[in-house]
């Protein structure tokens, strides 16, 4: 297999397979959760479950002052790498073209060198997060294989993206191919690992906010 054939394979059948697994897997995961159902609350409502749920979807992204003081590192590093991932994934023009072919929607991108710089910052933040996970007693105790796997498959596309952008060591088709392949690995694992929190967290926030909102409780 030449590098070009490899690139064509990852852009073609492999990408389709990864897309299929990710989309089908996410729908299955969603139904697995959703169909478990939830009892209707019979207590007299004091607020709106929907309003509470909706509010918490957004409100939960802003940490309270006390948590910021006590979990500052987790919050700041978490914010940096999440925003970094967002910028790198959604604002790099070659990526936008992928979303455009799938959805027909397009939006302006950022200059490539800003994406590159953001990528480096994101990788540094992820490394810091990993070190924190290993060093912090609480996180070390909580962490399982899944957590490290998720870290790895998140880091890999950033690294291969960096190598592809700067053409380090291998040929450009191979580097771009490896980058796309690493994204496909991420896509395949997405529904079946903690990566799916990117979707389920909206359900979690919704339920939390709805349970609280129904009672007229802030959350």
């Amino acid at each position: 297999m030449t590098d070009t054939e490899f690139l064509l394979w990852v852009r073609g059948p492999a990408f389709s397979a990864a897309t299929f697994i990710m989309c089908a897997g996410l729908v299955i995961r969603f139904l697995e959760i959703f169909l478990l159902g939830r009892k209707a609350d019979l207590a007299e409502a004091r607020g709106s479950a929907a309003a509470g749920g909706f509010r918490t979807l957004f409100r939960r992204s802003i940490p309270d002052a006390g948590s910021f003081q006590r979990s500052g590192f987790t919050i700041v590093s978490g914010y940096i790498f999440h925003i970094g991932l967002f910028i790198v994934i959604f604002l790099f023009v070659p990526h936008i073209l992928v979303f455009e072919t799938v959805s027909g929607l397009s939006w302006p991108g950022l200059p490539s060198n800003i994406i590159d710089a953001t990528n480096v910052v994101t990788m540094i933040a992820l490394l810091a997060v990993l070190i924190h996970r290993v060093k912090d007693p609480v996180m070390r105790m909580l962490s399982e294989f899944n957590d490290y796997l998720v870290w790895f498959v998140t880091f890999l596309p950033l690294l291969t993206g960096y190598l592809a952008f700067h053409r380090v060591a291998l040929s450009a088709p191979m580097l771009i191919g490896l980058h796309i392949l690493s994204v496909e690995l991420l896509m395949v694992l997405f529904p079946f690992t903690k990566l799916s929190h990117a979707f389920t967290l909206w359900m979690a926030r919704w339920y939390n906010g709805a349970i609280a909102g129904y009672k007229g409780v802030q959350s």
Partner: protein, 362 residues
């Protein structure tokens, strides 16, 4: 012109001044993308060079490569190159025809067995030898016969190097490249459709001057194929700024912005177009407003579409996502229903817990 004299002697005999020779060496070094510091080395080597015999075989090809070479702008240099080598067989360029032509080939092979250079353009049919023959000899047989006595092989053009257009899907002749058939000889690949003329001559000079050049993993000389079009492209700053032409006639196209979105293969294509350029160094496809087709890379004809951006999946992902969603709905509903049933059975199995059920001792 005798083959026994060195190039230096030949030039002197022809009254070509040392200055002219130095100029030739300087422009050749520039063409080969060698640092100017190498100019004296080239001069010293070429001076002592004896003219090697070259046999040029053309198989399934369009003569574009030969056209490219003969349309080469730097006439002086080509003259010198052809002074440098002894082109003993080239069925498009040679005057001889018929059995005389084949005889010339056989003579050249016999006289220089083990020392001549074989240049090939065109791919070789792999399925049925009858697809392409010369003087009743199949391409494959001729290649193997001539290759056996060659000191080295230069495959010119994407057909000879990677199979090229004959090899494109569905590849009716089962076309293969030189390196697919010849495994025991040094092969220098000079891909391109066609290759830049200066690169063809540059490779020959480099080969004659320094022997086998440094090759990349696809057998291409690093001096000419060491950088991607993208990395040497004058429109690269627009890529870095995120300024792209969205169509061939929009404002971005008029302003000369990056052609990535229009399918430019510059990022994955290694060639010298962006610096050496074409037609007397006038321009190259991107400068003319067209995305790079990636012609010097394997399978460029089938590499996901000329006008499809490099990052875009080649298959219909939107459709796949919809099918996947539908499949997920069915599977998810089935799995979800079974989980729900499991929960219902747990609810049914519930035994009322009373205060006497709490103490383990009771």
């Amino acid at each position: 012109m005798s083959k026994d004299k060195t190039l230096g002697e030949t030039l002197q005999e022809r009254g070509i001044s040392r200055r002219s020779f130095l100029k030739f060496c300087a422009t050749t070094a520039s063409m080969m993308a060698l640092p100017p510091a190498m100019i004296p080395v080239i001069a010293a080597t070429l001076e002592k060079l004896r003219r090697p015999s070259v046999i040029w075989l053309s198989f399934q090809e369009c003569t574009g490569c030969t056209e490219s070479l003969t349309r080469s702008h730097s006439a002086t240099i080509e003259d010198l190159i052809f002074d440098t080598i002894s082109l003993d067989y080239h069925h498009t360029l040679q005057a001889a025809s018929g059995s005389a032509a084949e005889q010339a080939r056989e003579e050249a092979m016999q006289e220089n067995y083990g020392n001549y250079i074989l240049v090939v353009d065109g791919s070789i049919p792999g399925e049925n030898n009858g697809y392409s023959t010369i003087a009743g000899i199949s391409n494959k047989d001729m290649l193997l016969e001539v290759a056996a006595g060659a000191a080295a092989i230069v495959a010119v053009g994407s057909c000879a190097t990677f199979g090229g257009i004959p090899h494109a899907d569905p590849n009716p002749t089962g076309a293969v490249s030189v390196s697919d058939l010849v495994k025991d000889k040094a092969i220098v690949n000079v891909p391109g459709c066609p290759p830049i003329p200066a690169v063809i001559t540059g490779v020959l000079v480099q080969f004659l001057t320094f022997g086998l050049p440094e090759l990349d993993q696809l057998g291409r000389p690093a001096a000419f194929y060491g950088n991607s079009i993208h990395d040497r492209c004058y429109r690269r700053p627009f890529y870095d700024k995120g300024l792209f032409a969205n169509s061939f006639d929009d404002e971005g196209a008029k302003k000369g912005w990056c052609l990535f979105k229009l399918g430019c293969k510059g990022p994955t294509t290694y060639n010298a177009c962006a610096t050496t350029k074409w037609n007397d160094g006038t321009s190259f496809p991107i400068e003319a407003g067209h995305p790079c087709l990636g012609c010097s890379e394997p399978d460029f004809w089938d590499a996901g579409g000329f006008y499809k951006a490099l990052s875009i999946p080649t298959e219909d992902i939107g459709k796949t996502a919809v099918y996947a969603g539908a499949a997920g709905l069915i599977a998810g509903a089935a799995i979800g229903a079974s989980l729900r049933a499991r929960k219902q059975s747990a609810v049914k199995n519930h035994e009322r817990v009373t205060i006497d059920d709490l103490d383990q001792e009771s």
